[in-house]
């Protein structure tokens, strides 16, 4: 497991999650945290010290954890249910469906160490099918924040929103993205991080900064790439994707299998509204052991890989 110590200027979004949650809990006594023996990996130790009555540790029992979350919501609480994304989503998928999404329960599901953050632990611990599983459930808001600011905004939004939410939080160090001072987090809206008319890159989560770096590489070659941060996977910003299709081609990049995630959502939109080539960068399936960085590099999920995919799309168009 890679160390969670942030490099200079790099951040572990779990810190933004727990600091925001703690601040919110100080203002709103309805907020509770529910964990599956994951106080450490969810970094909820301080929350536990400060609000011992409001940290509910169900032990290693994800189905019960999500059901208990739905029950706490019924009892007037605003539960933040945190656990390793792979087990929270996979093990309790039916509870997420029936108890949370279908019941419209006010539960906030926080999948920690998502994607391939647990690279070396192997495919059982990778959470790279979760977006496909959850995106199929109507009524569940899905957010994949890209940096500490967006993580904090997503948590605040979720706490104020009445209804089920899934937030996918990594543990991989990411930089704080450059944003205008008046930037606002808007649910269901893509964030235009860089404009460009030659090709569009649509991405989310830990790959957004790689996409921006890819755009720099492309700009040096005279290719202007538009970069969209699609932090909200559901509800989906169809309009922004259709506009991005106007560039003539879209590359998507995500820490997920190529089937059914962000790329799938983009492809569904494009096919229905404005057909253009879409190149989906992601994982082919179960992955071997290796660091997250290595796994991403191997599958084109680096600045160079994203730039190459964009270059290919532009070249193909001639």
């Amino acid at each position: 497991m890679s160390a969670a110590v942030p490099a200079t200027g790099m951040f572990d979004c779990r810190n933004a999650y727990v600091e925001t949650l703690e601040a919110l809990a100080g203002e709103d006594s309805r907020i509770v945290a529910v964990v599956n023996d994951s106080i450490g990996s969810s970094k909820l130790g301080k929350f536990h010290e400060r609000f011992p009555e409001r940290l509910i540790n169900v032990g290693i029992a994800e189905q019960n954890m999500v059901g208990v979350g739905a029950g706490l919501a019924n009892g007037g609480k605003v539960p933040f249910v945190s656990g390793a994304a792979c087990f929270l989503t996979g093990r309790a998928l039916e509870q997420i469906k029936a108890d949370c999404a279908y019941s419209n329960a006010n539960v906030k599901l926080c999948g920690i160490s998502s994607g391939v953050a647990y690279g070396e632990l192997g495919a059982t611990h990778h959470s790279i099918e979760d977006l496909a599983w959850l995106r199929a459930m109507k009524g569940l808001t899905i957010i994949v924040p890209s940096d500490p600011w967006e993580t904090a905004e997503a948590i605040r939004w979720a706490a104020a929103h009445q209804g089920p939410v899934f937030i996918r939080i990594s543990r991989m160090p990411v930089p704080a993205l450059p944003r205008p001072a008046d930037a606002r987090f808007e649910i269901g809206k893509a964030e235009l991080l860089r404009d460009g008319g030659d090709v569009a890159v649509v991405t989310c989560g830990t790959l957004v900064h790689h996409a921006l770096a890819a755009a720099d590489i492309l700009a040096a070659e005279g290719i202007e790439a538009r970069v969209l941060n699609m932090a909200t996977i559901a509800p989906f910003d169809v309009e922004a994707v259709v506009a991005a299709a106007g560039t003539g081609g879209i590359v998507t990049a995500e820490e997920h299998v190529v089937r059914g995630g962000l790329g799938g959502a983009v492809a569904e939109c494009v096919v229905a509204e404005r057909p253009v080539p879409v190149r989906i960068l992601g994982f082919p399936g179960f992955l071997p052991t290796g660091s997250a960085e290595w796994l991403m590099e191997q599958h084109g999920l680096s600045a160079a890989g994203i730039a190459q995919a964009a270059r290919d799309l532009v070249a193909r168009r001639g």
Binding site: Q63, N64, G67, V68, G71, K77, D99, S103
Partner: protein
């Protein structure tokens, strides 16, 4: 309504509950007959338990179905909607007339209960093994708030083959959730066979005790016994309570009793007439 009056039992109260249990059975049969689908065996099995809770024990106000202080009922065995909807309608959560729409296109009376359509439903169930964990979560919320509402979950016995039920049971015992009562509709039959032939549950009471629960075993068709065990004592219990209610699947209808085939099923016109006549006779007796 105070807890003290709830614990005051009388023959009159038992008669009141029995009349409603009989009514629930009649409605559930009529609903299954009209819809051509249903789970009448389990509806008959659970009718006395539901009637006891809704008409003898729980503090609920159908005019304010989401009142924060209400007692909660979670139907973990979510397929027995014939009985649940009849109890909810009779209690006043929606018009009795609406029972006629059961399973019709677009009806709020879905094959499994849905809280977003229907007042009085606390959580959507249907897949087994879901209700008890949710009930545990509600009880934890009540424990944190030192609220005085009580949470009841009705589970099937076959449903206890789901692992999530025991995850929830273990945690409820650990948290000493004295505001939680699980009621096991112990009719001994699951869809195709007896529970003991399929994946045996016995010794069932010992299992719950081992998970930190108090256990009471009662005749699940003896309303007076159900009332006395389900009524909330003035002093809150220190541990969660499991009531193992020994019941008969298809209870009250001679040709359905203890027949696994009536787990799903629809009475024919003649069977319905016979069943209603038998229930009438029981009420007169």
């Amino acid at each position: 309504m105070s807890r003290e009056t709830d614990t005051f039992l009388s023959a009159e109260q038992a008669a009141h509950v029995k009349e409603r249990a009989n009514w629930i059975r009649r409605q559930a049969l009529l609903m299954a007959h009209r819809a051509g689908q249903g789970h009448p065996g389990g509806d008959m099995s659970a009718a006395d338990i539901l009637a006891t809770l809704y008409f003898g024990v729980m503090r609920i106000d159908p005019a304010v179905p989401d009142a924060p202080g209400r007692d909660r009922f979670v139907m973990s065995k979510g397929h027995c909607t014939g009985a649940l909807y009849s109890a909810l309608a009779r209690a006043g959560f929606f018009p009795v007339e609406e029972l006629k729409t059961y399973l019709q296109p677009g009806s709020r009376l879905n094959g499994h209960p849905n809280r977003t359509y229907l007042p009085g439903v606390e959580t959507n169930t249907g897949p087994l093994g879901h209700g008890l964990p949710v009930a545990v979560g509600i009880a934890v919320a009540g424990q944190i708030d030192a609220a005085d509402y009580h949470v009841f979950a009705l589970t099937g016995d076959g449903e206890l083959q789901e692992g999530s039920m025991w995850e929830a049971a273990m945690f409820a015992g650990h948290r000493r959730l004295g505001n939680l009562t699980a009621i096991v509709d112990r009719n001994g039959l699951q869809q195709g066979a007896t529970t003991e032939d399929t994946n045996a549950l016995e010794p069932l009471a010992d299992k719950w005790r081992a998970f930190g629960w108090e256990v009471a075993e009662v005749d699940g068709h003896d309303v007076a016994a159900l009332l006395s065990v389900l009524a909330i004592p003035a002093v809150r219990r220190a541990r969660p309570l499991c009531v193992i209610a020994r019941t008969t699947k298809g209870r009250g209808v001679s040709f359905m009793e203890n027949q696994a085939g009536w787990h799903h099923g629809t009475p024919s016109d003649a069977q319905l007439a016979q069943a209603l006549a038998e229930l009438d006779a029981e009420l007169q007796a």
